[in-house]
Amino acid sequence: MYTLTQVNKHYVKGRTTVAAVTNLDLHIADGEWLAVQGRTGAGKSTLLQLLGALDRPTSGTVMFGDQDLGQLSEAELTRVRAASIGFVFQTFNLIPTLSAAENVETALAPLEMATSERRSRAAAALQSVGLTDRARHLPSELSGGQQQRVGIARALVKQPRVLLADEPTGNLDEDTRDDIVELLEQLWIERGLTLVLITHDTSLADRAQRVATMREGNLAVRAGGGRTD
């Protein structure tokens, strides 16, 4: 799915250049669950942005299938994100003025699709995360766990190949965290998704097939406890 070769990503802040990712090599197989850990500022989010076609590397190549994301135009990157990549955010990032169903629909808005079809797919996505009865509720009327379920439904409604989750349980209590983790794991298994999950939670990371730990912009990868069949 992903092949990263000698990837560097530098940010310029004033007169200082910060190396967020340094000479990184990584292969993520199709359908793999990779957990990424590391201290704050270790480059986890930068890695996620590179994998999510949100940013281009300063040097090196980020191959997504046969596409070199570093060489694509902004419009092409947008199309990659619209069609193939789902995001789950730590802070849920739901649109506060839209209902749960409408939030899910926003992921389908860039796709050529009739309104009725978009609505039925959003309803089905909410059903798959157990929120049918909350479809018309605004985010402010939902609990944190329910909001994250909406976020997951939004990420998956377009049936992406890849799900990128940035601390998806970081803002949840322990019980809710377990529910969300089980849901993600179930969806990963059912749909054959490639799942890249950033987390500080080692118990959660250990449920992945592999665990990559970022240190000073580079990676050390070990096997996780997740199923490999």
């Binding site: 942005q49 955010f89 649109i95 992921a107 860039p110 699709m113 039925s120 797919r121 798959s128 377009k158």
Partner: protein
């Protein structure tokens, strides 16, 4: 990811091209995705405006205030222009767009003098004021100009009757007897082929009949009804002018400042009037009334006439406006100066307010837009969303503003005092004519060349073009604000948008 799950019914069709490709080589860019979700656009826009209702109302109110002022000022300005037009029309008739007169050269004599003889002399003369004469052929030349609908000549005259006292009647100090003071009335020679031009166009027949073509050489007169009442005249009466008896065929009601007491056929006026030693004024006129084919042609026609008759004074409503004094002139400068700049200032303030508030709103929505971009929303879609929100606010401001404008115009109609305009009755004339006897003591000012004060009711009309301009301005303001906000939102990189919120 060799097989896609079908839990979400029918979703596979959406990205069918990807399913056809090997799972390890996704090719999302092989298919160009098009956006088609007006319902979502409308829902998102409506909800966002509802969330920022107070801000939307503030922006709309700001735009509405500016637009309302613009509509009101335009209405007031149009009202002043119409009032100025009415001043001209009151002098020269409704159908007249342009008048042509000729200022006199340096007078070689002071007025008309009479020497007292041994017997009293009874004088009755039709004379013109201190304006020079124009050849009647000029009327035809002007009528042939491009953009001229019609042209008519006229003679504005004064009939003066007085008894020049005998030498014995003049007192020791040269003081004449009371009977020596003249009586006058104003007479207009009317071109019977163009009754719709000139002051006679303002007259409405109240009894009797109007002129007919066959009256061109007849001694017939139409008399102002007020003048007739004061002098006990009616249809069928006789009135003497230049020692000639005219048969009154009609009475007219009229209100214009340019109204004459008596109207007679132009050819009779030319035959009976005198000027600077001429026994008559055949082939002469002292004013030409011109109507243009349409209002847009007036300036061009004026320029053509000025070329044709370089020594003539060519007046239009707009040129007359500069000669108008009184409260109408004050209202004009109020509308054109203070009103215009006030409206511009409020509009600019409204535009700046709308822009700042929109930029501020966009700044608060960094995460929202970043999330949408991460999900594949193109920048132009986000720009359109921001612009759409601004445009709706602008339309709201325009609607309220036009309503305020109508209200403002109505208030002007209700509270505006009656204005007065003071203007020379004949803009081409010199100061009032004097008649004197032996250059001493006896003076009587007569109408031609004098100043007239016209009462004007100011009406502020809201025109369709003013409304259209107001709506365009509101939309322009909204587009500027939305454009700035959209530009800012569109420039956000999705990664930066997400990173900025931690």
């Amino acid at each position: 990811m060799s097989e896609h799950d079908n839990t979400i019914a029918g979703l596979d069709d959406v990205l069918s091209n990807e399913q056809e490709s090997p799972s390890t080589t996704p090719s999302p860019t092989t298919r160009r995705l098009r956006y088609r979700s007006p319902a979502m656009f409308a829902t998102y826009l409506r909800r966002e405006l509802r969330r920022r209702l107070r801000q939307a109302i503030l922006v709309a109110a700001g735009l509405a205030a500016g637009i309302g002022l613009v509509v009101t000022v335009i209405a007031a300005s149009d009202g002043v222009q119409q009032a100025q037009g009415r001043v001209l029309h009151s002098l020269y008739g409704i159908g007249t767009d342009i008048t042509v007169t000729k200022a006199p050269g340096t007078p070689t004599q002071k007025g008309s003098g009479f020497d007292e003889g041994s017997d009293p002399q009874h004088v009755d003369v039709l004379s013109i004021g201190y304006v020079d004469l124009l050849d009647a052929s000029s009327v035809d030349s002007i009528a042939r100009l491009k953009g001229v609908a019609a042209a008519a000549g006229g003679l504005t005259l004064t009939d003066t009757k007085l008894t020049v006292p005998s030498a014995a009647q003049v007192g020791a100090n040269g003081e004449p007897p009371r009977s020596a003071f003249p009586t006058t009335f104003t007479v207009d020679g009317v071109d019977l082929d163009h009754l719709g031009l000139g002051p006679f166009a303002n007259a409405t027949i109240s009894s009797g009949s109007t002129f007919r073509h066959k009256d061109a050489t007849a001694n017939v007169a139409i008399v102002d009804s007020n003048y007739a009442a004061a002098h006990k005249l009616r249809v069928g009466s006789a009135i003497i002018a230049a020692k000639t008896e005219f048969h009154v065929i009609g009475l007219v009601d009229q209100t214009g400042a340019g109204a004459a007491n008596v109207y007679i056929p132009l050819r009779r006026a030319q035959a009976l009037s005198q000027y600077a030693g001429s026994k008559n004024l055949d082939g002469k006129v002292n004013v030409i009334y011109v109507s243009a084919t349409n209002a847009d042609n007036i300036a061009a026609v004026k320029a053509e006439i000025a070329k044709l008759a370089p020594t003539a004074t060519v007046s239009t409503a707009s040129s007359l406006a500069s000669q108008v004094s009184g409260s109408l002139a004050s209202a004009a400068s109020l509308a054109n100066d203070l009103g215009k700049w006030l409206a511009i200032a409020v509009l600019i303030a409204a535009f700046v307010l709308a822009s700042l508030l929109t930029l501020s709103a966009v700044s608060r929505r960094v995460r929202e837009f970043g999330t949408l971009k991460a999900m594949g929303w193109r920048s132009r879609r986000i720009v359109a969303q921001v612009m759409g929100e601004s445009l709706v606010t602008g339309v709201l401001g325009a609607v309220i503003g036009v309503g305020l404008g109508f209200g403002g115009a109505r208030i002007i109609d209700l509270v505006a005092p009656h204005l007065t305009a003071t203007v020379a009755q004949n803009p081409g004339s010199a100061p009032p004519q004097n008649i004197s006897i032996n250059g001493g003591g006896l003076h009587k000012e007569v109408a031609p060349g004098s100043l007239h004060t016209v009462a004007i009711v100011l009406h502020a009309p809201v025109t369709l073009s003013a409304v259209a301009l107001a709506v365009l301005l509101a939309l322009a303001g909204a587009l500027i604000a939305g454009g700035l906000g959209g530009w800012r939102a569109g420039r956000m990189r999705p990664a930066a948008s997400l990173a900025s919120v931690g």
